[in-house]
């Protein structure tokens, strides 16, 4: 693939360096930080005590944060209050993703599971179905973010039992996509390292639109989550979830008020509530 491949893969050392000094604080917060920092620093210096020194140091760091627009704490936490992505992100046309994950299962077992292509939608969230048409050919249906379906045919063009499966979309697809998965025994009987490569490309820069429609903004993150689900299915036998669990956010949830509380709330001042209830403890 072309040189643009690197754009969505791992960040280069130079981009990490850039990030270390990047502006990641919004304008209003910067002004606030600088003003508060300046005030604290001045206040601290005017005190001429150890406490004052601490205060001025604190003020100085706030001031620096405001003037430079860079907050180390935010960077480490991955917070950015400045907003807006750079244009470089949007220019990417061809997308190449590589991900690997270690799964505590034998290569043969994982190969068998993956080779049964109907299994793929169990962990690849954007896929609705994969139907095997012949030994090599299959029909794929994906859901788009907007709710529409995208379909294409694919073929397995390279395969080595228990080691490798490689597939690509057939001519006539809107978007050319190809992928491969390798299964390598991990050292020390730790199972298998599963290595996945995905390529998407299309003439006229359609791939960005396709990916955005089908998988959302972060294809790397998506495959990350897909592989995590695969690991959970293969190791734990199920995908951990809290989807559908109860909380106080559902429509059926309502505040619970005891009759006792009703009565007390109307008759007793709040200050006496505590002691009255405390005395009702079963000692």
């Amino acid at each position: 693939m072309s040189s643009s491949l690197g754009e969505l893969s791992a960040p280069s050392p130079s981009s990490l360096k850039k990030e270390a000094n990047q502006v990641n604080i919004g304008k209003i917060e910067r002004i606030g930080s600088a003003v508060a920092g300046g005030t604290l620093a001045a206040l601290g210096l005017s005190r001429r005590s150890t406490g004052g020194l601490m205060l001025s140091l604190l003020g100085a760091s706030l001031l620096y944060r405001g003037v430079s627009g860079h907050c180390e704490c935010y960077r480490a936490l991955g917070i950015n209050t400045k907003g807006s992505r750079t244009k470089d992100d949007e220019k990417a046309r061809d997308v190449h993703i590589e991900k690997s994950i270690m799964i505590d299962r034998a290569p043969e077992e994982l190969y068998r599971f993956w080779r049964q292509l109907e299994n793929l939608p169990r962990f690849m969230k954007h896929l609705e179905s994969v139907t095997t048409l012949s030994d090599e050919r299959s029909h794929w249906v994906a859901n788009t973010v907007a709710g529409k379906k995208v379909e294409w045919d694919a073929e397995i063009y390279n395969e080595k039992e228990n080691e490798l499966i490689a597939w690509r979309s057939l001519p006539g697809s809107d978007v050319t996509n190809a992928g491969s998965v390798r299964f390598k025994a991990a050292p020390g009987h730790r199972g298998t390292i599963v290595q996945v490569t995905l390529n998407y490309n299309a003439p006229g820069g359609k791939v960005g639109a396709f990916l955005a429609k089908v998988v959302g903004q972060e294809p790397r993150q998506l495959i990350d989550e897909d592989l995590r689900r695969l690991k959970q299915i293969m190791e734990a036998g199920e995908v951990a979830t809290v989807h559908g669990q109860t909380s106080a956010r559902g429509e059926e949830a309502r505040p619970f008020v005891t009759r006792k509380e009703h009565k007390k709330a109307s008759m007793t001042p709040a200050s006496e509530l505590g002691s009255e209830r405390a005395s009702s403890q079963v000692a």
Partner: protein
């Protein structure tokens, strides 16, 4: 059913919510018979733990009766009485196989959130933020327990709730903290923080052969409990220079092991403690580490600092030079509860320990908001609250 829900900083409310359902084959539904408020629940109450959402059900210390089982659970029967570890573990991943249960790879559906902050994610936890899985907690009438074939420990019907409830967290947590100290005959162990975990660390240090345990706090009722129940010597940091005193008490060598059972909300009146307060208030740091600094400073050369207290983010002024210069061993982390439930249940059954000694308050679940407030403010000498639905 009734459930205790997080609604914001200092805001805990009782809600009537739908009962939990089985969502996965290895799930169980447990009808809660007893549940407790943990010191680490106060970090949520105080708004220190990110990714909580309005309406989340709280609680990670609970026990009860199995009322429903998923198709994949054969080790339990409906009607079994169980105590449930606060850490959720699949039992089959790299980490579970090495008995690092709270590092389970497969139980946190929101692992990505934790990875952003920590590089890798720990296990899912009950009722402890979405970063830790967003699982509904056990301060409710019913609770869904994932991987129920691995975590819950069956307890006999004839043993009271109060004696086994704390197998869910604080007893194993205090015990692991002491175990991490690698206690040798003649050792002195100093424990910062005499909350429930500190109390169990004190007891456990003696169970594991410590010669002396020195307990440090500023709440008189907690120091009294440490002395009376735990048999510890006590120091009040409000009126004692802890470092000097520990040095003097140990013939100038320092404690062999120091346990920080305080965590990220340490308080104190020293300069570094005030500095922490200012910085966390301005969001320039997230955790206040006064107790940990002191523990590192006071520990003898080649000693161990064991940290059961919870930390969440970034520490400032961490005395790494002192830790390095003295060649300290630092041990920490969420408790691998599953390792301890069985052996500690045996100790309880052999009457080596009765964990109910920490309980100071018994409330109805309906009084949870009042309970949180009381515990938070240490009113009415509150050390440990147990609630019955």
């Amino acid at each position: 059913m009734r459930a205790v829900c997080w609604y914001g900083k200092y805001d805990v409310r009782l809600f009537d919510v739908p009962e939990p359902k089985i969502l996965n084959p290895r799930d169980a539904i447990v009808k809660v018979s007893s549940t407790a408020i943990c010191g680490s629940d106060l970090h949520l109450y105080d708004g220190y733990i990110p990714t909580m959402e309005k309406g989340d059900i709280l609680g990670h210390e609970f026990m009860g009766e199995v009322v429903e089982l998923g198709s994949g659970v054969t080790s339990l029967k409906v009607g079994d009485r169980v105590v449930v570890p606060f850490a959720i573990a699949c039992g089959r991943c790299f980490f579970c196989k090495r008995h690092l249960w709270s590092a389970c790879d497969n139980s946190n559906p929101n692992a990505r959130l934790a990875e952003t902050l920590y590089g890798y994610s720990g296990s899912g936890l009950f009722g402890y933020s979405h970063m830790m899985g967003g699982y509904a907690g056990g301060q409710a009438e019913f609770v869904r327990v994932p991987f129920a074939d691995i975590g819950p420990i069956k307890v006999p019907q004839d043993i009271e709730d109060e004696r086994v409830l704390f197998l869910s967290d604080i007893f194993p947590t205090g015990y692991m903290a002491a175990e991490n100290c690698d206690i040798q005959a003649g050792d002195t162990v100093a424990v910062w923080g005499c909350g429930p975990v500190g109390q169990f660390a004190i007891k456990s240090a003696y169970l594991l052969g410590a010669e002396r345990v020195i307990a440090i706090d500023d709440a008189p009722e907690r120091l009294r409990m440490a002395a009376k129940e735990g048999g510890a010597e006590t120091l009040n940091f409000a009126d004692t220079d802890i470092f000097e005193k520990l040095k003097e008490m140990t013939g100038g060598i320092g404690p062999d092991a120091c346990i920080d059972a305080v965590g990220l909300e340490a308080h104190g009146a020293s300069l570094d403690a005030l500095y922490d307060r200012a910085k966390t208030a301005l969001y320039l740091a997230t955790d206040r580490a006064h107790a940990l600094r002191q523990a590192i400073h006071a520990c003898r050369k080649g000693g161990t600092v064991s940290v059961p207290g919870v930390y969440g983010g970034f520490l400032d002024k961490f005395p790494f030079g002192a830790a390095f210069a003295k060649g300290l061993t630092l041990k920490m982390g969420q408790t691998h509860v599953h390792n301890y439930t069985r052996p500690l249940l045996e100790r309880i059954q052999k009457n080596e320990i009765d964990p109910s000694f920490v309980i100071t308050h018994r409330l109805s679940l309906n009084d949870a908001p009042f309970g949180y407030e009381t515990f938070k403010n240490k009113e009415d000498d509150c050390i440990k609250i147990v609630m019955k639905p």
